[in-house]
């Protein structure tokens, strides 16, 4: 605070690395402690995982294109649904948000880097190993995990195959990585804000990430506990979830969803932050209701701890429990509604332009709200008995995760890509990517509502013939959505290689510290903290 020298991240590191460009060669990437390098690695890693997880979704949709079993064995189908879920949650969505946080949080709060740069390097570099372990188990005798990403006991204990230990350890490593990332984000935001950057002046992306990081700290250890119990139940004759030894399989679901529900907000709160950055820029207005946005985010986070059993309405809970969890779940739609209305109010009478990030953000607002409404339907206990474990649930969580979380990540990538590379991306291709994604994603997920309501169960490789037409449509939408994403890779690659030079501000209405540094953002930014007015 007193002198510029104090703002160097770490005095030893400072001596040999500061004020230089990036070191060359492969060592740069292994040894880097630079938040921009690590952010880029996280983003590229999550893109690779997005395609691997996506390829598994293609296998699922190919098998479901027609009724009957044609392409894969049911056991392999189960492995595909399981690993698709694990990879998309822990490998694609979460690392993408951590990558964006690494890149943008220091630049948004005027910090020179993350507070704990060496731990930052660790939290990234253990991640590829976690997924190598998980993916390698698919090639082992007996195959990979096949019990669903929720690994309910006794499927994951008594009836699981021999590679379960690999699954458990890979989840442990993913958890450690997330926890280290979360600690880093919290310390950075608490300690490294530029002078004058009070909490209530922080950009919303920073706020949502601060709250997300606290959620991660609170629930990732509970997930670690749950997988450890599965491990000891399977290999060391404990009976946490085994009724013969006095355990209880329903308790597994309680422990898992105590983690699992806050986890879904971990995957959506940063998305809210990104959209809250983009919508004001292209509306050329301040964000409507800034403080209500902050309080809404905090309330969603707090409420997320008391709604877990809405995933378990059919386990035979007493009426009082069902009512409690139903009302608490519905209560969450209040702060979520506050957010949606604030975004709409921000656009109201704004000078709107429809650049690619804005198009993704508007699609996010509309489609996430559809996902929110189907969530509200699922929250109603009596009808949940019909919807439980059907494609209606699949439709619901893909609307909030694909058109919610993934669309916001795409929006964020297009929004900040020119700042990262110094070039404007190919706008024509990016628009093609947007429209193809928007149409195909709805062809893919919207009919799932109908087959779900008609009773098609999820996670089953075959189905009754009356669902055949809808499933063919869904699969076509799926292949189209998968192929459209190749355009995104082309756009990003071309943008890194070259393109029109952009100004420092990049977008006409953009405000915030990240738009005050040069484009492309230099290797070191804010070595001297900026003045906040």
């Amino acid at each position: 605070m007193s002198t510029t020298e104090n703002n160097a991240v770490d005095s030893n590191h400072h001596a040999d690395d500061h004020h230089h460009g990036a070191p060359k060669g492969i060592k740069r990437w292994f040894l880097t402690t630079n938040h921009k390098d690590i952010g880029s690695m996280y983003l590229i890693f999550s893109l690779v995982m997005f395609f691997i997880g996506g390829a598994m979704a293609m296998v699922i949709r190919a098998e479901l294109f027609q009724p009957g079993l044609q392409i894969v064995e049911p056991d392999f189908f189960n492995q595909m649904t399981t690993v698709h879920g694990l990879i998309m949650v822990f490998g694609a969505v979460m690392p993408a948000f951590v990558g964006l946080a690494n890149w943008m949080v220091p630049m948004m709060i005027g910090a020179p880097d993350m507070a704990l740069p060496r731990m930052n390097n660790w939290s990234f570099w253990i991640l590829p190993f976690a997924f190598l372990i998980l993916l390698s188990s698919l090639f082992m005798e007996g195959g990979g995990p096949n019990f669903g990403w929720t690994f309910y006991a006794p499927l994951s204990t008594t009836f699981s195959n021999d590679s379960t230990a690999f699954f458990v350890f890979s989840v442990h490593i993913m958890g450690i990585s997330s926890i280290m990332g979360a600690i880093n984000v919290i310390v950075t935001i608490v300690n490294l804000r530029a002078p004058g950057m009070t909490y209530m002046k922080m950009p919303l992306f920073v706020w949502t990430w601060l709250i997300t990081a606290f959620l991660l700290i609170a629930v990732m250890p509970v997930l670690a506990g749950a997988v450890t119990m599965v491990l000891t139940d399977k290999y060391f004759a404990t009976s946490f979830f085994d009724a013969a030894g006095g355990g209880d399989p329903v308790m597994f679901q309680h422990i898992f969803w105590f983690f699992g529900h806050p986890e879904v907000y971990i995957m959506i709160l940063p998305a809210f932050g990104i959209v809250s950055q983009i919508v004001p820029t292209f509306s050329r207005k301040k964000l409507f209701g800034y403080s209500s946005m902050v309080y809404a985010t905090a309330s969603i986070a707090l409420l997320s701890f008391v709604v877990w059993a809405h995933h378990m309405f059919t386990t035979g809970m007493p009426l009082a429990g069902e009512l409690f969890f139903m009302y608490c779940t519905m209560l969450i739609s209040v702060p979520t509604g506050v957010k949606v209305f604030n975004w709409v109010a921000t656009m109201w009478r704004g000078a709107l332009t429809f650049e690619v990030p804005m198009m993704f953000s508007i699609a996010f607002i509309v489609l996430f709200t559809i996902g929110g409404f189907s969530g509200l339907m699922l929250a109603i206990t009596p009808v949940d008995f019909q919807y439980h474990d059907t494609y209606f649930v699949v439709a619901h969580f893909h609307y909030v995760l694909v058109t919610g979380a993934i669309f916001s990540i795409m929006a964020g990538a297009y929004y900040w890509l020119p700042k990262w590379t110094g070039h404007m991306f190919d706008i024509g291709l990016a628009k093609a990517h947007f429209w193809l994604s928007l149409i195909s994603v709805n062809v893919l997920f919207f009919p799932m509502h109908f087959v779900g309501l008609a009773g098609m169960p999820r996670r089953i490789p075959d189905y009754a013939t009356q669902f055949a037409d809808f499933n063919a449509i869904i699969s076509i939408g799926g292949f189209a959505f998968g192929l459209s994403q190749i355009l995104f890779v082309v756009v990003v690659y071309k943008c890194i290689k070259g393109g029109d030079k952009v100004s420092d501000q990049v977008w006409e209405g953009a405000e915030g510290l990240e738009w005050e540094v040069a484009s492309p953002a230099p290797y070191h930014t804010f070595s001297t903290p900026p003045e906040i007015k």
Binding site: N6, N191, M220, G245
Partner: protein, 194 residues
């Protein structure tokens, strides 16, 4: 604002790491908490594992149907069935019945019966004076036995419950107990019909 001295960072990191450790512990603490919670509220259909005292008041104005379900877990090669599938009882009235088991395997085995009552709330009113589920049950290969149950339904059972189902699941625990204990169970023969 605050600056980034390692000292300041360490303070927060310590607190956060402690929180992580506590939350890891909390995950495991949920296990006993879950049992305590179910015990207090009577949820989950778990009946008491200790013998109840007899009742001296029989409420003949109410009749409740008690159904019995017996099943074995996994591929346990045992026959297991109740003498009768359902009986009509008055609250407070004592009843006895046997469950018939046969070990059809070629090994001596030890099993544990785990009871569950549905609807769950009724579990707290299902009083067992004597139950084979209180003990581990050894059975030699090919042997048949009658396992006794003595129970009554509490007078305080809420009016809306007309049918109560008691389900037993037999779990094979031969592998899970110590060898000595296994021998002892067969030597002592705790199979005592009431």
């Amino acid at each position: 604002m605050e600056n980034n001295s390692p000292k300041n960072n360490n303070k927060i990191v310590k607190k956060l790491v402690l929180t992580v450790a506590l939350m890891f512990g909390f995950g495991f603490a949920l296990v006993p908490l879950y049992d305590v919670f179910c015990d207090i509220t009577g949820l989950n259909g778990k009946t008491s594992n200790t013998a109840a005292v007899t009742s001296d008041f029989v409420d003949t104005s109410r009749t409740i149907t008690v159904e019995f379900i017996a099943r074995t877990q996994g591929s346990l090669p045992w026959d297991f069935r109740p003498e009768v599938k359902r009986i009509e009882v008055h609250p407070g009235e004592m009843h006895e019945l046997n469950f018939i088991v046969k070990n059809k395997s070629v090994n001596d085995m030890v099993v544990q019966a785990v009871p569950s009552v549905s609807p769950g709330i009724a579990a707290a009113y299902f009083n067992k004076i004597e139950c084979f589920c209180f003990n581990r049950q050894p059975l030699e290969k090919g042997e048949t036995a009658d396992l006794g149950l003595q129970f009554y339904i509490d007078n305080a059972l809420p009016e809306e419950y007309k049918i109560v189902t008691l389900s037993y699941t037999l779990f094979d625990i031969s592998e899970k107990i110590e060898h000595d204990e296994f021998e002892q169970l067969f030597a002592g023969d705790t199979l005592s019909a009431p």
